[in-house]
C-alpha cells in the first residue's frame, strides 16, 4: 500500500508540475524573446478559467469552454500587448514590473465587476470523469492523467514549433539578436504580438484545465504566478527546457514535501505537532530549494543565451 501511495503522490507531483509548466512556458518565452517580465500572466490564467466556466455553463460543453479559454486568453494577451506591453520592451524591468502589476489590479477588479464576487462553477467533462487502476492496487483520477498528457503534448508541440517552423526560427532569431531580424525584414511587431498571445493562450489553457479541479475565482492566478516564477528561476529564465525541468522539480518537491514531511516529523513528535511543523516547513520547501539552486547556479539550471 505504501508503494502505491508513493506512486500516486509522484503522479500528483508530476501533474502539478505539468500545470506549472504551461504557466511557466509562456512567461519564459515572453522573457526570452522580448526581454519582458510579465506579472499579469496570472491574470491571463484567470481569464482562461473564467472564459471556460462561462462558455461551459452557457453551452453545457466543457470542450467549447476550453476552446473559448484559449481564444479569450490569446485575445486578452494580444490586446494588452498592443495597448500596453508594446511600450515596455525598451523600458527597464522596474517599469515592466510596475505596469504589469497595474494590469493585475485592472484585470482582477474588472473581472469582479463583470462576474461578481462569487466563485463560478466548472466541472470535469463526462469523458474524463472517473479513475483508472494503478499498479499496487490504488486508483488514479483520469482527468489528472489527461492534464499530464496535455502538458507533455504542449511541451512536444512547443519544441517542434521552435525547432521546425518558420515562426520558431524567427523566435529563435529574436532571442539571439533583436535588431538583426528587424533588418531581415521580419515584421517584428507582429511577431511579438503573436508570441505574447501564444504565451497567454498557454496560461489560459492551464487556467481552464485547473478551473475544473478548483474554484474559478478572482485572484486564482496569483499563487500560480508566484509558483511559475519559482519554476523559471530554478530552470533558467528564457529557457523552455529549463521551465519544463523546473516545473517538474517544483511540482514533485512540493507534493512530496506535503506528503512526507509531516510523516518524518511524526517519528519524533506527536501527530498534531508533526502536522503543524511539517506543514509549515512544507509550505516553504520550494523556496528553500530555489535558494539552494541559486546559491549554486545563479543563472538557474539551464541558463539561456543571455541574461
Amino acid at each position: 500500500m505504501q508503494t502505491a501511495l508513493f506512486i500516486e503522490q509522484l503522479l500528483n507531483g508530476l501533474q502539478l508540475g505539468v500545470m506549472l509548466f504551461l504557466m511557466a512556458a509562456g512567461l519564459t518565452l515572453i522573457f526570452g524573446v522580448m526581454g519582458l517580465i510579465n506579472l499579469a500572466h496570472g491574470s491571463l490564467y484567470m481569464v482562461g478559467a473564467f472564459a471556460c466556466a462561462t462558455v461551459a455553463a452557457y453551452t453545457g460543453s466543457f470542450w467549447l469552454g476550453l476552446i473559448a479559454s484559449l481564444a479569450a486568453a490569446a485575445a486578452a494577451g494580444a490586446i494588452i500587448e498592443i495597448l500596453v506591453i508594446r511600450r515596455l520592451y525598451e523600458r527597464d524591468h522596474l517599469d515592466q514590473v510596475l505596469a504589469t502589476f497595474a494590469l493585475i489590479l485592472v484585470f482582477s477588479e474588472g473581472t469582479r465587476w463583470l462576474f461578481g464576487s462569487f466563485p463560478l462553477y466548472l466541472d470535469i467533462p463526462p469523458l474524463l470523469q472517473g479513475t483508472v487502476p494503478l499498479p499496487g492496487g490504488s486508483r488514479y483520477q483520469l482527468y489528472r492523467l489527461a492534464i499530464i498528457g496535455v502538458g507533455v503534448a504542449v511541451a512536444v508541440g512547443l519544441f517542434l514549433l521552435i525547432t521546425r517552423t518558420r515562426l520558431g526560427m524567427r523566435i529563435r532569431a529574436g532571442e539571439s539578436d533583436r535588431e538583426m531580424i528587424g533588418a531581415l525584414g521580419v515584421d517584428i511587431r507582429t511577431l511579438y504580438t503573436i508570441v505574447f498571445a501564444l504565451g497567454a493562450a498557454l496560461a489560459g489553457l492551464a487556467g481552464a484545465m485547473v478551473g475544473a479541479l478548483q474554484s474559478v475565482q478572482v485572484g486564482m492566478g496569483e499563487p500560480a504566478l508566484i509558483l511559475a516564477f519559482v519554476v523559471i528561476v530554478i530552470g533558467g529564465i528564457g529557457s523552455i527546457r529549463g521551465a519544463l525541468v523546473g516545473a517538474v522539480i517544483v511540482g514533485v518537491v512540493d507534493t512530496m514535501g506535503r506528503f512526507l514531511l509531516p510523516q518524518i516529523f511524526g517519528l519524533f513528535m506527536n501527530a498534531s505537532q508533526a502536522g503543524i511543523v511539517g506543514g509549515a516547513l512544507a509550505s516553504m520547501l520550494i523556496y528553500i530549494v530555489m535558494a539552494v539552486v541559486l546559491a549554486v547556479r545563479p543563472q538557474g539550471l539551464f541558463p539561456a543565451a543571455k541574461g
Partner: protein, 381 residues
Amino acid sequence: MKKFLAASVAALAISVAGVAAADPIKVGVITTLSGGGAGLGVDARDGFLLALKNAGDAAKDIEVVVEDDGQKPELAVQIADKMIQSDQVDILTGIIWSNLAMAVVPSAVAQDKFYLSVNAGPSPLAGSQCHANYFNVAYQNDNFHEAMGQYANETYKKTVIMAPNYPAGTDSLTGFKRYYKQELAGEIYTQVGQTDYAAEIAQIRASGADSLFIFLPGGMGISFMKQYAQSGVEIPVIGPGFSFSQDVLPAIGDAALGVKNSASWSQDVDNEASKKFVETFQAEYGRLPSIYAAQAYDTGSLIVSAAGKASVKDADAFRTALKAAEFESVRGKFSFNTNNHPIQDIYVREVIKDGDVLTNKIIATAFTDHGDAYAEQCALK
C-alpha cells in the same frame, strides 16, 4: 463605498405609538466587499440592511455607514478609526474574519463603542479578552466544529480530520476533538490558500478511515470538494457549515450532495422569523440567503430591539437591552451567555438538491442550548 443609507427612506410617515422616540443610532458596518472573500461580506451587508428594512418604522432612527475592508486587517483598523473619529458611530459591526476582528474589536470597545459580531468569534474575545461592549451574535469559532465532533462521535469509529495550518484551522480540529472520542485515522494540515489537494486525497484514501472531517473555508473548500468527488474516494465527508453554505454550494456543484455539516441556522428552520427572512431576502436580492446573511439579519434585528428599549447614549441601559436579546431570531431560540456569546441550538444539515438548487436540510440536532468552552475564562458575569 461610502453609502449613507438612512433606513427611514423605506419607512412610512406614520408615527407608531409605543416606539420610544429614541436618539438616532449610527451603525458602522465594516465588511469585505472586494477581493476573494467578498461573497461573505456582501451577504452579511445585505442581511443586515434587510433586517432594518423589515423592521420598518422601528428602524427609522438607525443610520448605517457601510465600508469595504478588502479583507485587509490594516484597512479594517483604518476604517474603524475613521468611523469612530469622523463619522462618530455608536456601534460597529460587519466583520467576517477572525483576524480582522482581532485587529478592530479590542481597540473599538476600549473606546466605549459597541461591537456586534456578525460572524467571527475568535477564542480570546470569548475568554480572557472578553468585554462588556462586545456581543457576538453569530457563534464562538469552535461551536460548529464541536457539533460535528459530537455527531461523528455518535456515528463513526475512525475519522480523519483536516484543516489549513493557521489558528482557525488548529482551533477547528481542537474543537472537533473536544467532543470526538473515537479513534483518529489521521490529522492533516494543509496550506492556507492551497488549491490542489491531490496529495492529501491520496493520504485519505490510504488512511482506512470511515469518515472525513474537513474545515476548508472559501475557495479551499470548493477546490477540495470538486477534487475529492472526482477522486473516487467514497469516505463520507462531514464539516462545519461554512464550506457548504449557500454562497459556495453552486460553485461546488453536485460534489457536495450528501455532505453532513453543522450550523446554527438553515433555511428550512421552522419558525416565522426565518420564513419571513428567507422570503424577503429572495424577493430583495434574487438569491437564497447564506448563514452569513442570517447572522447579520439577527444582528440588525438585535440592534432594532435594543433601540426600542434604551437610548444608545445611555451605555449601561443599552448594554442591558442588548444582553436581553429580545428579538425574533431566525434561529428560533437565542440568548447570550455570561461572556456575551450565543447560547443556541446547533443543527446537523445535509446538502440536498431542491429542484435544480443545491441547499441544506436539517437532519438532526447536535447540541441544544450550547454555549462555548471559553466562558469560564471571561471575567464578565
